[in-house]
C-alpha cells in the first residue's frame, strides 16, 4: 500500500476526502434479494402487458405510479411546483413503454420517471421495457426507440444511492415467460453493478421456468477459475446448484483444487490454448459426471493482460493475449459445437464469454487486450446468429472496474479515479460479474441471446 493510500484511508484522510466531496460510496444491495419498498408498475398507453405478467410470475405485487401532471403537484418549501412524493420510497419503478411510438408519447416516460428518481429507496431500480426497433415501423418510431435508450442512460446517471436504471428492448412476440428471468435479475441485488445498460430480450427457443437453483443437476464449465473473477463465477454457479468444472493452468493447480473442493466441483488443469483443449474438457466432464453427462454452460473467463503502449508492443505479447482471450475460446466452442461427444455440449448449451470496457472503448496500453475483448463481442454476436436454428444461446459480459488482485495492482490515485468514474461511484465486485453470467446462463434466459451486457456501474468510459 502506498503512503498516499495509507494516508487516504486514515481517519484524518477520510475527513479531508469527505470535505473535498469524495464521500464513501453507497453500499449496494447484492444477491438474490428483492427491493424492500413497493414495486411501482407504470404501463404507458399501448403497453403489451408482458412486464405486468412477468412481475406476476415473480409474485411481485405492484403499486400504481404517481404521474407528474398538474393535479399531482404540490409546492415545495420554496414554493416551486413539484410532483407529490411517494409515501413509501419505491423499491423499483418498472415502466412498460412497449406501446410508445411517437415523440409525444415519450412525455409519458417523463411523467412517471420524474416523481421516481428522487424517491427511490437505496439500491432501487428503474426498469424500462420498450419495443425493439426491429419490431416497430416508421421513422418516428425508430427515432423514439433510440430516444428511450437516451432516457435510460441519463436516468442511470441521475439516480443516487446505488440505484440503477436499465432498458430492455423486447423483440417481436416476447412473452412474460421470456422476460421473467431478466425481470428477476434486474429487481434483485444480482444486478447491483449493472446500470445504464440496454439489451434485448426475445422469444426463447426453449422455455424453462424460473428457479432459485437453476443449475441443479447441471454441469457448468468455468475457465480461469483458480482466482479472482473466475473463482467468484465458480462460487455463484455452485450456489445456484451447478456441478462446476473449474479449469485453470497447471501452475494454478493448488488454488484451483481448493476452489473446486470448496464448492463441491471438480478441477481440470488445462492450458486452454492447447489444440485439444475442447476434447480434454469433454473428456473430463465424462470422467467426473459419467458418459451421459453434458455441459449446460461454459464460461470462457480465462484471460490475460500483457499491457504495453503500442510503440513497445512486440508480436509475442500481441499473440499471447489474442490466443488466450479469443482464439482458444473459439477453438473450444468449435469442438464442443461439433459432433455430439460424451461430456460435450447439451442441446441447449449456454456459451458465455468475457469482453471488457477496454474492448468497448479502447484503453491506453491495451491494443492487444482491446483487440481480444472487442473480438469476443464480435464473435458472440455472430455465434448467436449462426446458432439461430439451435436452442443454444451465446452471450458475454463486459466488466468495467472490478475489485480484484489485478486491479489492486494499479497505482492508488489511478485506481481511485477508475473506481469512482462511474454512476455508482465505486468499483464492482467479482460476484457482480458472476451474477450477470449466471443470469445469462440460466435455463429461463433462453430469450436473452447474442447480448453483451456491461457490468461497469455505467462507467464513463465508452458508455
Amino acid at each position: 500500500m502506498s503512503v498516499l493510500e495509507t494516508l487516504f484511508n486514515s481517519p484524518l484522510g477520510q475527513l479531508v476526502a469527505k470535505q473535498a466531496g469524495l464521500k464513501p460510496p453507497p453500499k449496494l444491495r447484492r444477491g438474490r434479494v428483492l427491493p424492500t419498498g413497493p414495486v411501482v408498475l407504470a404501463e404507458l398507453p399501448g403497453a403489451d402487458g408482458a412486464a405486468r405478467a412477468a412481475l406476476g410470475l415473480l409474485d411481485v405485487e405492484t403499486a400504481d405510479p404517481i404521474a407528474d401532471v398538474a393535479e399531482n403537484r404540490i409546492a415545495d418549501d420554496r414554493g416551486r411546483q413539484v410532483p407529490r412524493p411517494y409515501t413509501t420510497p419505491p423499491g423499483a419503478v418498472v415502466v412498460d413503454a412497449t406501446g410508445v411510438r411517437t415523440i409525444a408519447e415519450l412525455e409519458g416516460l417523463r411523467q412517471v420517471l420524474r416523481p421516481a428518481v428522487r424517491s427511490l429507496e437505496r439500491s432501487g431500480r428503474v426498469i424500462i421495457v420498450a419495443t425493439d426497433a426491429s419490431a416497430v415501423e416508421g421513422l418516428e418510431a425508430h427515432a423514439v426507440a433510440q430516444g428511450i435508450d437516451g432516457i435510460n442512460r441519463t436516468v442511470a446517471k441521475e439516480l443516487r444511492a446505488g440505484s440503477t436504471s436499465n432498458l430492455l428492448f423486447l423483440r417481436g412476440d416476447t412473452g412474460a415467460d421470456d422476460l421473467v428471468s431478466t425481470m428477476s435479475f434486474l429487481l434483485e441485488g444480482r444486478s447491483a453493478f449493472v446500470s445504464g445498460q440496454t439489451w434485448r430480450v426475445g422469444p426463447a427457443k426453449a422455455l424453462h421456468a424460473l428457479d432459485d437453483r437453476p443449475f441443479e443437476g447441471r454441469v457448468v464449465v468455468v475457465t480461469g477459475a483458480a482466482r479472482g473473477i473466475g473463482t467468484a463465477i465458480a462460487e455463484v454457479f455452485a450456489r445456484d446448484g451447478a456441478s462446476v468444472v473449474a479449469i485453470d493452468v497447471p501452475a494454478g493447480g493448488d488454488s484451483l483444487a481448493q476452489v473446486a473442493n470448496r464448492i463441491g466441483g471438480s478441477a481440470l488443469q488445462l492450458d486452454i490454448t492447447a489444440a485439444d483443449a475442447g476434447e480434454r474438457i469433454a473428456a473430463h466432464v465424462a470422467r467426473v459426471h459419467g458418459a451421459d453427462a453434458r455441459i449446460w454452460a461454459i464460461v470462457h473467463n480465462a484471460g490475460i493482460t500483457r499491457d504495453k503502449m503500442l510503440a513497445n508492443l512486440d508480436e509475442k505479447l500481441w499473440g499471447q493475449v489474442l490466443e488466450v482471450n479469443l482464439a482458444a475460446e473459439i477453438r473450444i466452442n468449435d469442438y464442443l459445437l461439433g459432433d455430439v461427444v460424451p461430456g460435450g455440449f447439451g442441446d441447449e448449451a449456454r456459451i458465455v464469454g468475457i469482453a471488457s470496457t477496454s474492448g468497448v472503448a479502447g484503453n491506453k496500453g491495451q491494443t492487444n487486450y482491446a483487440a481480444s475483448k472487442a473480438g469476443v463481442m464480435g464473435y458472440t454476436w455472430e455465434l448467436s446468429r449462426q446458432l439461430a436454428d439451435r436452442p443454444i444461446t451465446a452471450g458475454a459480459v463486459a466488466p468495467g472496474f472490478i475489485e480484484t488482485e489485478m486491479t489492486g495492482a494499479i497505482p492508488f490515485v489511478q485506481r481511485e479515479i477508475f473506481r469512482r468514474t462511474n454512476s455508482l461511484g465505486q468499483g464492482g465486485r467479482p460476484v457482480d460479474v458472476a451474477e450477470t453470467l449466471a443470469y445469462l446462463c440460466s435455463p429461463a434466459s433462453g430469450g436473452v441471446d447474442g447480448q453483451v451486457i456491461r457490468v461497469c456501474g455505467q462507467n464513463l468510459v465508452g458508455a
Binding site: 497447471p250 483444487a257 473442493n261 470448496r262 463441491g264 471438480s266 488443469q269
Partner: protein, 414 residues
C-alpha cells in the same frame, strides 16, 4: 465373485529438494494437499472413499495417525477411514498392495493409497541418555531420587540427535551400503552418470509434453519438480566429486544419488465395476505383487537388491518372463542400485531388461525421492503410460527399501 483392482488416476505435489519451498510444510500438510488435488480432479469433495492407506518414513510421534489426520484435513467425507502403513521406501507401493488386495477381496470398492515425506520437517529426537534420565526422574518417588536421576545427565546427552538414514544393524548409511554394492557389482561411474542423465532427460520430456498435467497439482508456488535439471550434461555429471565409497572405488556422486526430498503422492484405486459405473479411466489393473527381503546384515547379500529376489517369485507365479513387459519402473535410489539390480537379474538367470523400456519418464534421480511418496508417483505414472499403450500392456515396478527389503508389482492395461 472375483474383483479386479484398477488404478484410476493419481496426484502428487511437485517434489522439491529438502529445506527449500516446502521447508515449513509437514508430512501431513503434504499428504493433505496430495489428497485434495486428487479429490478435486475427480470431483470427490464430500465423498466417502472406502479406505485411505498411506505412510511416511520420517515420522514425528504426533503423526501416529498421520493418514487419518490428513483425511480429516482434506475435502473427503469424514466417514473415510484411514490407516498408516510403514515399509521404509516401499511404503507407498505397500499401500497400493494393501488397498488393492482389499478391493480384490471385496472389502473395499474405492481406495486411495500413497505416502508422504518431509525431509525438511524431520523429527529431531533427544539422546538415549537424556530420554532415559527423564523417564527415570518421572518415575522417582522422592526428591532425592529425582535429583539423582537428573544428575546422571551428561553434557553430551543434551545434544539433539538429527535423523540419519542409517541401518541399525550395520551402522552404515544408505549411501555407504550402496557403495559396497556398487563395488561388488562393478558398476562404472559412466554407467551411473548415463542413467542419471537419462532420468533427467526423460522426466523433462514428460513435463514438457504435459504428461503430468493430470498427475501433479502445484503446491506452495511450485508447479514442477525442482530437483529436475533438464539442462544437465554428462560432462557436468562427470565433474561432480564422489560422496560415497573410498578411493578408486568411489563412483557415487550427488548427481547419481537421490537427494533428500519433500513431497507426497497418492493413487486412486477402484474395483473395476465401480470405475466403469463412474466412467473413471481404467488405466491399469493391479495384477500381482511380491515382497522379498535380503540377508544383508551378514554381508552375504546387498541391502538394496531384495527386488532381485521378489521379481523371479512374482514372474514364476504369473507364468511370465521379463520379455512380457513393455515398461519397467526401477526406483532410482541410486543409479547404481538400478544398474546392479539389472546385472543381478541377468546373472541370476531371470533375464535381461531392455534399457529402453526402463524409467521412460524419469525416476527418483530426477524427480527426487520423498521416501514414502515414491510408490504412488510410480504407480500413477506407469498406469497412465500403460493405458496409452493399450489393452494388455504390462509394466513391472521394483522398489528397494531400507532393512534389505524390496517390493515389486505388475500392472496391466485393460
Amino acid at each position: 465373485m472375483t474383483h479386479t483392482a484398477v488404478v484410476v488416476g493419481g496426484n502428487r505435489t511437485p517434489f522439491v529438494k529438502a529445506g527449500t519451498k516446502y521447508a515449513s510444510a509437514s508430512a501431513q500438510d503434504l499428504l493433505t494437499a496430495a489428497i485434495d488435488g486428487l479429490v478435486a480432479r475427480f470431483g470427490l469433495a464430500g465423498a466417502k472413499i472406502d479406505e485411505v492407506a498411506a505412510g511416511a518414513v520420517l515420522k514425528h510421534s504426533r503423526d501416529f495417525n498421520l493418514t487419518r489426520e490428513s483425511v480429516l484435513g482434506s475435502a473427503l467425507s469424514p466417514h473415510t477411514p484411514a490407516v498408516d502403513l510403514a515399509q521404509a521406501c516401499a511404503t507407498g507401493l505397500e499401500a497400493v498392495i494393501y488397498t488393492s488386495n482389499k478391493i480384490r477381496l471385496g472389502q473395499a470398492r474405492s481406495a486411495i493409497a500413497g505416502g508422504t515425506d518431509s525431509a525438511s520437517d524431520a523429527p529431531i529426537v533427544v539422546t538415549e541418555g537424556l530420554r532415559k534420565a527423564i523417564l527415570r526422574a518421572s518415575r522417582a518417588r522422592s526428591l532425592g531420587d529425582r535429583l539423582k536421576a537428573l544428575a546422571s545427565i551428561r553434557p553430551s546427552d543434551l545434544m539433539p540427535v538429527p535423523p540419519a538414514v542409517i541401518e541399525p544393524r550395520t551402522g552404515l548409511s544408505m549411501g555407504e551400503s550402496q557403495a559396497l554394492t556398487t563395488t561388488r557389482w562393478e558398476v562404472s561411474r559412466e554407467d551411473q552418470d548415463q542413467l542419471s542423465y537419462d532420468s533427467h532427460q526423460n522426466l523433462a520430456r514428460a513435463w514438457d509434453s504435459g504428461f503430468f498435467d493430470d498427475l501433479v497439482t502445484a503446491y506452495r508456488g511450485v508447479s514442477r519438480d525442482s530437483i529436475l535439471r533438464a539442462d544437465t550434461t554428462l560432462e557436468k555429471l562427470a565433474s561432480l566429486r564422489t560422496v560415497f565409497g573410498r578411493g578408486d572405488d568411489a563412483t557415487m556422486t550427488a548427481g547419481n544419488s537421490t537427494a533428500l526430498t519433500d513431497g507426497a503422492a497418492v493413487v486412486l484405486l477402484a474395483e473395476e465395476s465401480l470405475a466403469r459405473e463412474r466412467n473413471w479411466p481404467v488405466l491399469a489393473k493391479v495384477v500381482d505383487s511380491q515382497i522379498a527381503a535380503a540377508d544383508y546384515v551378514t554381508g552375504a547379500e546387498d541391502l538394496l537388491l531384495a527386488p532381485t529376489r521378489a521379481i523371479p517369485e512374482l514372474l514364476e507365479r504369473g507364468g511370465l518372463t521379463l520379455d512380457d513387459f513393455e515398461l519397467f519402473e526401477f526406483h532410482e535410489a541410486f543409479a547404481s542400485t538400478v544398474l546392479a539390480t539389472l546385472k543381478a537379474l541377468e546373472q541370476n538367470g531371470v533375464g535381461a531388461v531392455d534399457r529402453a523400456k526402463v524409467n521412460v519418464d524419469g525416476s527418483s534421480l530426477a524427480a527426487g525421492h520423498p521416501f514414502a511418496a515414491t510408490g504412488g508417483r510410480i504407480v500413477a505414472s506407469l498406469a497412465k503410460r500403460l493405458a496409452e499403450r493399450g489393452s494388455g500392456a504390462k509394466g513391472l515396478i521394483s522398489i528397494c527399501a531400507a532393512g534389505g527389503q524390496g517390493a515389486v508389482m505388475i500392472l496391466e492395461a485393460l
